[in-house]
Amino acid sequence: MTATTPDATGHFGAYGGRFVPEALIAALDQLSAVYDEARADPEFTAELQRLLREYAGRPSLLYDAERFSGEVGARILLKREDLNHTGAHKINNVIGQALLTRRMGKRRIIAETGAGQHGVATATAAALFGLECTVYMGQVDTERQSLNVARMRLLGATVIPVTSGSRTLKDAMNEAFRDWVASVDTTHYCIGSVGGPHPFPVMVRDFAAVIGTEARQQCLDLLGRLPDSVVACVGGGSNAMGIFHAFVPDADVALYGFEAGGDGVETGRHAATITAGSPGVLHGARSYVLQDADGQTVESHSISAGLDYPGVGPEHAYLADSGRASYRAVTDAQAMDAFALLCRTEGIIPAIETAHALAGAQQVAAQAPGSTILVNLSGRGDKDVATAAKWFGLLDGSA
């Protein structure tokens, strides 16, 4: 299989497309045109690469996690996206979109955020580029990720807690779309994942793909060959598409996406969209969706705010149906066990989102002992310290 390219109107097979109000079509057409033009412009590429290098701190390291490997029985290589400026892979996409915002002559940028990492990255880029910034965040998430709310505000962004619906990422995205319909002349909506209407899924993937491009070469340098498998967590799916993309044509490299299984897929309290969902339309694209018999979106559940989303990017739906990538669920408890293991064996506190990938790597290792597994360490866990301390009962006064 060669790397997937959507058709001219953004369809990955049966998935993707544009399911949005007509009012947004002109802006999406403009974005598509400006993105195509920018991609072909060597100055744009040079500026993007300069910022990724000098500002975000790329290339990120590939780390041979020997003690963690010893515990799981396979060789685990960690792509250290947690070491990027702002502490997660999200900055890669945001710098790209901020450059496009400037190119379009727009002065305001809006974003949705779940865990707050994309919001922080957007607020950061807005500060760097002198853009006005508004971030929509579900009220539930503003509470469980309060540190990131403060970070965004320190960076000069306006954070709007969203109180409609399930008060999480899906509702934040609804609210961002509502803002955008009314502000599209002056505002760019910086979608934080590989979802949404065309061109977002392909554009965000392309900006995130630096992760896999670097990691593939780093694996060749370190191992003299490619890894046996590549593992990432999947909420909307941008870190996963970012690391998968360069490996899609490498048929011998297995690709695994791990979704948030919450309390367990069988309990119905989860965010495992591909594992347990069905094809539908949400937030502008056709993909897998967690929905009821009437096509109403079902609320997702996960300890991880960043994975707590009932949709997934359309390219993942395509890769799942084609069999090129496999998607499975990891429960909250499995993720937190892996979280603890990485902390104790490597001195790295991962994001809870990322811990789902680590738990997934344990599963892949159990199936293929001694294999070499590349894991996208998509973000660091500082923002999750309070949640983790509560989970493990580490706070004074807790049992």
């Binding site: 544009r18 779309f177 339309v281 937030h283 009437d294």
Partner: protein
């Protein structure tokens, strides 16, 4: 059941030298019966065309008022089949009835099956706020097969090329979104809507109705001066949220209909 088609309604209003009044409520709010009673009162009081919203969990084109009612309807257990039953009940009054639905509930029901059941319930057609003609091949085929009006939206940001292609894909009438924004009452009518209607008319002979933001007889009169239809949604829903019931929406209908006859 004899279905009243949108075209007949617009033609009848035009024969009276006025614009048509299009009234919207989401199915199942405040309850199934309460919604049907309110819609019947709106028809009785002079709404020419009824738009029944299919409540959806993620209504990105709706402002707070319709969001609130849709959420309440869903919490109250409103299902797609209930919306179709609502269509049937209101169509039985002799009114022209369209469904307005976000795409996923229709996709989930089955596009052809939905079209079939909508037509069987006496529905005239469907308005699709998040489905553009570019993605609508299945709906275009189903609406042709079941003889339903296909109402797509045009917006102030639509290019001339898109106005042409979108209106070509429409049947019955065209929904012109008066402003760049979500549904909800606004204090001033849109300054860009007259230009949008004029640009739309250059592309099509279909009636053009204007929605988003109209809540008073005064505003309805302003819009009626340049459009074939005036669409009112949130202002009706507001009356129900405020507990005014069928009498409240009937009073608003009288006010709006009065605006159209000035």
């Amino acid at each position: 059941m004899t279905r009243v088609r949108s075209a007949e309604v617009f033609a009848a209003a035009r024969a009276e030298g006025r614009a048509a009044l299009v009234g919207y409520l989401p199915a199942g709010y405040p309850s199934y019966d309460g919604c049907v009673a309110a819609l019947e009162a709106m028809v009785e009081a002079g709404c020419d065309l009824i738009e029944i919203g299919l409540p959806y969990s993620d209504p990105v084109l709706d402002g707070p008022v319709i969001q609130q009612a849709s959420e309440a309807a869903l919490r109250g257990g409103a299902k797609t089949v209930d919306a179709l039953r609502t269509v049937e009940a209101v169509a039985a009054t002799g009114a022209a009835v369209l469904v307005m639905s976000y795409w996923n509930p229709v996709l989930r029901y089955g596009v052809d099956g939905f079209a079939r059941d909508l037509a069987a319930a006496g529905g005239s057609g469907m308005i699709t706020p998040d489905l553009i003609p570019d993605e609508a091949s299945e709906w275009i085929a189903a609406s042709e097969a079941h003889d339903l009006d296909r109402v797509f939206l045009v917006a102030p940001s639509s290019s001339e090329q898109r106005l042409a292609s979108t209106t070509r894909a429409c049947s019955g009438w065209v929904y012109a979104a008066s402003t760049m924004g979500v549904t909800g009452a606004r204090t001033a009518t849109s300054a860009v809507a007259p230009a949008l209607v004029e640009r739309t008319r250059r592309c099509t002979d279909l009636p053009v109705a204007v929605g988003l933001g109209v809540s008073t007889g005064e505003q309805a009169a302003e819009v009626a001066a340049y459009a074939d239809g005036v669409i009112v949604g949130s202002a009706f829903v507001r009356r129900l949220i405020d507990g005014e019931g069928p009498a409240g929406v009937a009073a608003l209908t009288h006010e709006l209909a009065g605006g159209l006859r000035r």
